[in-house]
Subunit: 719 residues, 2 copies
């Protein structure tokens, strides 16, 4: 079809959005990525995968699960090269991008390099580690690992796993066994088609005594033939909501024997005689836990930015309705206030998540480096206290960021109307792939409760006069903090004042949870039961705390920035205020309940949020540009940088659905349906003549009866 | 694997949940379905589809899009028989169940019988209707229709469609044409593979003058061969988020000629000479609009019940953690307070949606029947006013119920942890299929704004002394309504008092929207712009109004029930109170803002909601049983009635993923990867000897230069 002015309108519209941005876009992009080096690295990786044919993603939505699995396997070979030749820092950065671009592949690669190798790194003795190195665990030669933790009937409660590993003293072996269906290892990524080995979590039993869950390396397949080893039963878990590139499987062990030395013994040791040495109480490794959770927050920020880049660009060029008959073209939907209300707060939120992740990454890099250099003493105690304080927030942080991002993807999709429902625009798979984040790496609700529990503990400690760390400093000077009130007016635009508001409201929520807990303790309940009874208030406390925590991270990040007069600091400050007020509106009942906001202040917050939506709209295209996600990584025709969405989307649809020469089932199904014969409404009663026949039969019977009666009467008379 | 006591534990656990229900379960089921007749009919249909092999759904998650399309087509033949031989009432009921069971098929069937036939019914003259009847539109013989409204660049704004139908006076034909890519008909269900005809919405142009959008029946394919007719270009839209059983396509018309009589002329007529007769102002058909929206609400209630039945049953038998070491088995997750907080309010909400749908269905059935019998006059005016009052709520109602149900499916899925992520448990497809409800039949946000606009209008009318209808009766006696306050304590358990609270809070929200609108009018803005500026407050007003509206529907339904001493009315009353309070908590900021709830009352509401969660948990298994959704319709092993979830789920996974004799790509990809040669890290510089060579070249050059210099100097000396 010939192009017309109508087809070019989106391009012109988009170009106008980029005229005179109120900040230096490159400088904004550097600020959002932390440093120029980070940005350049990301651009390098984006260029590389865009030219690597194995990373073509235009057709993924039309691949079957089996095709996707095969292609995903082929990518592993391409990336292993980078593991072996790139610094860990660069490779981590590359994986961050890959996680955004192809989450299924990221997972399949991660089960070996993250989980399996990680299990060996943290659980093996030095000799054991050398052994597995020689076997090829780092180069991924001759072996590929999977991670056997969850079971069909056991997830979050690792201590409750039912797979057993029983020590056989005679042969110096462990016997790994699945006792019932519920104990089948389930969801094991890589098990169905890839893995040769598995790090199996199992209840260790020695001389009839249970010693709790330990980790055992169990060979699954002979690597040259891929035959299952004796006693191993593996099946495919099949179709999932998303991430179909990873081959999750189930594993059942039936009296599988492994050498004793295949138990990872860095922590617990088992001697030839079956003597068990348990480790002294292990200190929680805050750094490792924190690192894992922060990487999830990084992914939430990246994914939210991806979804929002598409929705915001689409809204800038999609037109609908005119406000008067004179208007030349319909109005871009981004100009409608409600559409701004739908998307702009999410833009501020994604920015807040990203700065939170940047801050935390930097913080624990610095802290763990300085911890290594420190001698035990008050300085180290302070550093550890700081780490612990951040850790309290991190479990709730993972939960909150994942939930909000899942919602943001959905809102971005819905904001694109029908086109959001097309697989080719990427939201469907983004949502489906992302959804599992709420469940793995600690179920969100359980993490939120953990966070709430830590907050209650901090509250109780504060009552006893202990000074709380940075993240919960609102618990210090509690009486005054609880009494603070909003000053209203322009104070609502002041980062410091908003921070105070969050402090006050969180203090109220934490106090409520603490009092809730205490009341059950006073009523004679055990600690466990008192915490259980206080679940809802703990949960609320954690959720309020997290929003305030993220706001403070954002605030600190912009406050640290130098103002170079390029508009960057100014606009990020606006976004931080916007975020703080929008969350205040969202969690308005707690702000009103605590008295920090009066009803009039609440109205003012709502009005300011609406103003910020309109303000952000003005520069939102340059802003999402500064997030710097290439068209190839976006993989969404309606999110194109240049605004040429309809031609691109139409082109992608045609490319993926070529017009067929022959209809696949017209002759088989449609023609016979359209030209089916009428069902003959024959009158079967008439055709068979059943009614006349019934009459005849009845008449005959009556006659016979009459005859019989006559005969009987005659006989009677004869008697 | 041999069964063990462990494998049977779920069955025993579930059986215990059904001991001594506090209400008669069958009576509860009848109450929830409206009448016993309705329940029996549903049970009849469930039995029928469970025995019809074409309706087997155990394998759908592993079908490709193409396989699903073909199977879906085959179902049409099976169901057409019912259309032709069943009363409309029964068939509507059957389709309601099918919509829950197989939404993709429901859509594919609906594009002909609902949309295409509906367009002809409402738009054709009597003669035109007879003509299409004879062509086979009702029996679906020789023709199958699709509905050509949306275009690639045009959705909600039907008046802005760009496809043209230009009258050619010479030939007495309309020429249907797609002028640019954005005007391509898009998302047309049934177009890609099924339809022979399309009801095309196009701008009618006669003698150069545009007459607005009218409907034209355009033949697409020759039915005997399925060849596209001249000027028709159709392609497949391909993969979607959900409902892949329906073949959405795009259509481009290039100067396609149709007879003038193929324009539907019930409303607008075009004569042979091109004279246009426009209809007098059409009155909005509240009944039809209402009916469409109520059928959406019915589907939201059904779908939410399906998702929650699965999640609740799973939670009853899934165990996790012990609260003390002495506990025999782990605790069922349904016993945790936070898990109850996640699911129980959604159970109350699904019940509220269902009663709302029942009430409205009954109301408009009665009203439209009595309207037919009435003469124009005050009685009819009252009936129409009642209808209009309900209609104001219905657009916001559709939006709210769809959003909440989408969220409920997600929460139900997340509450099942990892197993919620398996396709075989049904949540992924339920969510993906359902999601489109937010976009079609009126985009949710646009509908919510419409509802908000009507509320503002009612407010302005009330200011002028006009009495508001039932749904907005809180606008009558406004000054007093606004001042009401919660009485606290046990008044919060009183349906009437809760209703007053909703009235007061909604009145505040509507007043705010009205004042917002008025302020912009006073500032000199046009009506359109004033409504636009008041978007956010309109939206909030609509959302608060809807929750109150649903609560009142629920309240009225239980109040009308006779108390037979069987526990039904008692427990439904509790659920109604629960729902009213939970929504109050959810929208707490408006209740606190308006002053109806004091901070202490708000705490009381939260505490009561927690209590109701624990209360509902006690009888929630019999309650979801009373929703009467068969295992076949649930199609989710972890939602099984008998609780035998692990064996069933494991069985389904194995059935759908048989263990293969040969690995699909071990030889091709995995073996070459695991045994790849080391890349020779040869020292190319050394091997080639390039550095020595460079030295040699340099030395030679230096020598030559020295020689040249010597020669030059010698020559100079010679001079």
């Amino acid at each position: 079809m010939a192009s017309s002015w109508r087809d070019s309108l989106p391009l012109e519209t988009m170009a106008k959005e980029r005229q005179n941005p109120p900040f230096n876009v490159r400088a904004m992009s550097i600020a959002q990525h932390g440093t120029e080096k980070e940005l350049l690295l990301k651009e390098k990786f984006m260029l590389e995968i865009s030219r690597d044919p194995i990373f073509y993603m235009g057709d993924v939505h039309d691949l079957t699960k089996d095709q996707l699995r095969e292609r995903t396997m082929a990518k592993i070979g391409s990336l292993v090269h980078c593991v072996q030749n790139e610094s860990i820092e660069h490779f981590t950065k590359r994986m961050e991008l890959i996680g955004l671009f192809d989450p299924g592949f990221w997972t399949r690669f991660g089960v070996h390099y993250g989980l399996f190798l990680g299990a060996i790194r943290s659980g093996a003795t030095a000799n054991q580690f050398s052994y597995w190195m020689e076997k090829g665990v780092v180069s991924c030669k001759g072996m590929y690992g999977c991670f056997g933790m969850t079971e069909l009937a056991h997830g979050s409660n690792v201590a409750g796993l039912e797979t057993t590993a029983t020590f056989d003293e005679q042969t110096d072996e462990f016997v790994v066994h699945t006792p019932n269906i519920g104990a089948t290892k389930w969801w094991i990524g890589g098990a169905a088609q890839t893995a040769t080995h598995c790090s199996v979590f199992a209840q260790m039993i020695i001389r009839g005594k249970k010693h709790g869950v330990k980790t055992f390396i169990v060979p699954l397949r002979e690597p040259q033939s891929f035959q299952l080893l004796p006693g191993i039963n593996i099946g495919d878990i099949g179709k999932k909501m998303g991430r179909d590139g990873i081959d999750n499987g189930y594993i059942q062990f039936t009296n599988v024997r492994i050498p004793r030395a295949y138990m990872l013994m860095k922590h617990t040791q088992v001697t030839r005689e079956g003597q068990v040495f348990e480790p002294p109480m292990q200190q929680l490794s805050y750094v490792a836990l924190l690192q894992g959770r922060v990487s999830m927050v990084v992914d939430t920020a990246n994914t939210a930015k991806k979804a929002l880049t598409i929705a915001v660009r689409y809204a800038a060029v999609r037109r609908q309705f005119k406000s008067s008959a004179e208007q030349e073209h319909e109005t871009p939907i981004l100009d409608y206030l409600l559409h701004q209300r739908r998307l702009m707060p999410l833009v501020a939120q994604a920015t807040a998540f990203a700065f939170t992740a940047l801050n935390l990454t930097k913080m624990f890099e610095e802290t763990s480096a300085s911890l290594e250099a420190m001698e035990p003493g008050p300085e180290m105690d302070r550093a550890l206290e700081q780490l612990k304080s951040t850790h309290i927030s991190s479990s709730g942080l993972k939960a909150h960021c994942v939930w909000q991002t899942l919602e943001a993807i959905k809102q971005a999709r819905l904001a694109c109307g029908g086109h959001g429902y097309s697989s080719y625009n990427g939201f469907a798979s983004m949502e489906a792939d992302f959804a599992v984040h709420a469940t793995w790496e600690g179920d969100n609700h359980i993490l939120a409760l953990q966070s709430g529990r830590s907050l209650v503990q901090s509250y109780l400690e504060a009552l006893e006069g202990k000074k709380s760390g940075d993240a919960t400093d609102y618990l210090n000077d509690l009486d005054n903090v609880l009494k603070r009130k909003c000053k209203g007016g322009d104070a609502l635009l002041d980062l410091k004042h908003i921070e105070e508001g969050w402090g006050t409201v969180t203090a109220h929520a934490v106090k409520k949870a603490g009092e809730d807990y205490q009341s059950h303790i006073k009523a004679g309940k055990s600690k466990e039961l008192a915490f259980e009874e206080a679940s809802q208030s703990r949960f609320v406390a954690a959720m309020v705390h997290v929003s305030g925590f993220i706001f403070r991270q954002f605030k600190q990040a912009v406050e640290r920035m130098e103002d170079k007069g390029d508009g960057v600091k100014e606009h990020l400050t606006r976004l931080a205020v916007f975020y703080g007020l929008w969350r205040m509106e969202e969690q308005g009942s707690f702000f009103l309940r605590s008295g920090w906001l009066s009803p009039a202040d609440f109205d003012a917050v709502q009005a300011k949020v609406t103003d910020f939506c309109a303000d952000t709209r003005k520069y939102v295209i340059p802003l999402v540009d500064s997030w710097s996600i290439s068209d190839h990584v976006l993989n969404s025709p309606i999110g194109r940088w240049d605004g040429d969405i309809y031609r691109a989307y139409f082109g992608r649809v045609r490319q993926q659905n070529p017009q067929l020469k022959a209809h696949p089932y017209f002759e088989k199904l449609i023609k016979p349906f359209l030209f089916r014969p009428d069902i003959e409404l024959e009158d079967y009663d008439e055709a068979i003549g059943i009614d006349d026949e019934i009459t005849e039969i009845q008449e005959e019977r009556e006659e016979a009866a009459a005859e019989a009666k006559e005969a009987a009467e005659a006989a009677k008379n004869e008697k």
